[in-house]
């Protein structure tokens, strides 16, 4: 318990330091918030335009306008958390390996994975989180379906699971830096692969879509990421949805364990860089 308290205290110090750094350049911070929000608003405008052509059926399979807004809000909740707390660190990890500065992290009396993946926060990314709260509220007021209390309580829990799955994926990609030296294309790959998670699972159908849906649900579980929490609030849950929600728990645990295992393997292979 004291160990957990110690880590929480360190986490608070990281959060405080990052906030101080952000507040030192306040105008820049505000500009970054506006930039983040502008992209989200633009994205929303695109979907509003697209849905204006299919008002009745939306994207099909029950994803009409307001349920789809719930989906979009869920994307923003998850990705704003990932971009605020994880991405700044993972992006820097390859530089730590390349320059040999990872030595300093290894020498500290704290878990290396914890240190390198949570040392810096990008608070401006949370502006999208605030926007998503507004969008979710708006969508929930207009939505026909009334979610159960259990589903409402499970929503934040599954958002946390989704963040954990994405965290594991980023850690896996970051760990490859140790073997590859430079992996700029792999980070781009992360962006392009996670792009698949930004749409309802049902759209991946047909002879190509069905295998794609299988791979991105059960092998690389990124289709679980937004789809499971969004379904909790957006649509009445079917037996299939509950099954997918149960699988999401398994996927979260397996992703975290695999990420941890690969990171440790990578650290063991790390040979530092000469000065």
């Amino acid at each position: 318990m004291s160990q957990l308290k110690r880590y929480l205290r360190v986490l608070m110090v990281f959060a405080r330091n990052s906030l101080i750094r952000s507040m030192t350049f306040r105008t820049n911070f505000i500009m970054e918030c506006i930039s983040n929000l502008a992209w989200v608003v633009l994205n929303l405008a695109f979907y509003v335009l697209l849905l204006s052509y299919t008002q009745k059926n939306g994207l099909g399979s029950g994803w009409t306008q307001y349920p789809f807004f719930v989906f979009l809000a869920t994307i923003q909740f998850i990705y704003s958390l990932v971009e605020a707390f994880l991405m700044p660190n993972v992006e820097e990890f390859s530089e730590l390996v390349r320059s040999g500065d990872l030595d300093f992290a290894l020498l500290k009396p704290i878990d290396t994975q914890f240190l390198v993946s949570l040392a810096k926060f990008d608070w401006s990314a949370l502006s999208n989180f605030v926007f998503a709260s507004g969008l979710l509220t708006f969508a929930m007021i207009h939505i026909d379906h009334q979610p159960s209390l259990g589903a409402i309580l499970l929503y934040p829990f599954y958002i946390a699971c989704s963040v954990a799955i994405l965290y594991s994926l980023t850690i896996v990609l970051a760990a490859t830096t140790v073997w590859l030296g430079r992996n700029q294309s792999i980070y781009e790959f992360w962006f392009y692969i996670t792009n698949f998670s930004r749409y309802p699972r049902e759209i991946y159908s047909g002879p190509v879509g069905a295998p794609l849906q299988f791979v991105f649900t059960y092998l690389i579980p990124i289709l679980v990421v937004v789809n499971v929490p969004a379904r909790m609030l957006a649509k009445p849950l079917t037996t299939g949805d509950w099954r997918l929600a149960a699988f999401a728990l398994l996927a979260t645990a397996a992703s975290l364990a695999f990420g941890r295992w690969l990171f440790n393997r990578a650290i063991h292979s790390y040979r530092s860089a000469s000065s």
């Binding site: 405008a45 299919t54 994207l59 399979s61 700029q184 294309s185 392009y192 991946y204």
Partner: protein
């Protein structure tokens, strides 16, 4: 060094000497760019990945718009018969593929930010004290970058276009339209260059142009037709018979993605096509003038101190 003492003057080169200089710049730039050809090719191929989810998204949208989307076998006919803003499902996918080609010509990554940075940190001095025109030099570097890009990207592009050949239901455009398409692509490259360079040159007055650049990037992503065909905006009337689509099509940004793609798809013909090309040329000349004017005025007010 005060700029008034070192205002950029190009010595009276002979045409052959100038061509030789440009050729050397082009050759060096090509060699520089070819160093990272492997990563270049991989990066290009990966850029097509979002198109996969876009294809499925559009499939879902078109299935939802079909009158009877529940009946088996209707999906394919819905894809070829039902339209959104005059585009069938196949047209949409072909359109997105074609905008990727246009963006390969018109996008100028790091040009504006590079120019603004060189003004801020003073490295622009090297252009002012040497007998090389900065806008010409950067244009040739960009030509080299694009040539290498096409050389390397042709494989992934050909591979993806071959896989997606079924979406081009209209086939190749006739020769005159094809010529117009190529001309619009070349002009989109030059227009993209002068638009970005002008934004970078605003750095002479504001030093930090990143916010301005962001606004431009945002507008160009949304209004160039990269995200959706601009015809989708025609359902929103602004005043009388003028639609939001008409307004956007009055800007030079439409030439950065939308216009060339619609020529290839055969959406623009005859006089409308010629007027479109004339409009693109006019915008290109205007932007060239503005860019040169901004450079000349900027150099006059520029001051750099120290070593």
């Amino acid at each position: 060094m005060s700029s008034s003492a070192a205002i950029h003057r190009i010595p009276p080169f002979t045409l052959v000497a100038r061509l030789r200089t440009w050729w050397i710049i082009l050759r060096i730039s090509i060699e520089e760019r070819l160093v990272y050809r492997g990563e270049f090719m991989l990066g290009t191929l990966m850029r097509f990945l979002p198109l996969v989810s876009q294809i499925f998204l559009l499939q879902a949208v078109f299935n939802a718009t079909a009158p009877d989307n529940s009946a088996a076998g209707t999906a394919t006919s819905a894809h070829s018969s039902s339209t959104i803003a005059g585009y069938t499902y196949y047209n949409f996918i072909a359109y997105f593929l074609l905008t990727m080609v246009t963006r390969a010509f018109s996008s100028m990554p790091t040009l504006a930010s590079g120019i603004a940075r060189s003004i801020r940190d003073g490295t622009i001095k090297k252009y002012l004290v040497q007998p090389v025109d900065m806008l010409g030099f950067l244009l040739i570097c960009r030509v080299a970058h694009k040539l290498v890009y096409y050389l390397v990207a042709i494989l992934p592009f050909a591979f993806v276009f071959y896989l997606c050949r079924g979406y081009f239901t209209g086939g190749w455009p006739p020769a005159p339209e094809m010529a117009a398409y190529v001309a619009s692509l070349v002009m989109s490259f030059l227009l993209g260059y002068f638009l970005d360079a002008t934004i970078g040159l605003i750095g002479f007055w504001f030093l930090e142009v990143s916010s301005l650049l962001f606004v431009y990037m945002l507008l160009s992503y949304f209004l160039s037709g990269q995200m959706f065909p601009l015809d989708m905006l025609d359902k929103f009337t602004i005043v009388r018979s003028i639609t939001a689509g008409d307004l956007v099509r009055m800007t030079p940004i439409q030439y950065l993605a939308y216009f060339p793609a619609t020529i290839f798809l055969g959406k623009i013909h005859g006089a409308k096509l010629l007027w479109g090309l004339a409009g693109e040329l006019a915008w290109l000349l205007v932007m060239m003038g503005i860019c040169r004017f901004a450079f000349n005025r900027g150099v006059r007010r520029y001051s750099a101190y120290g070593g």
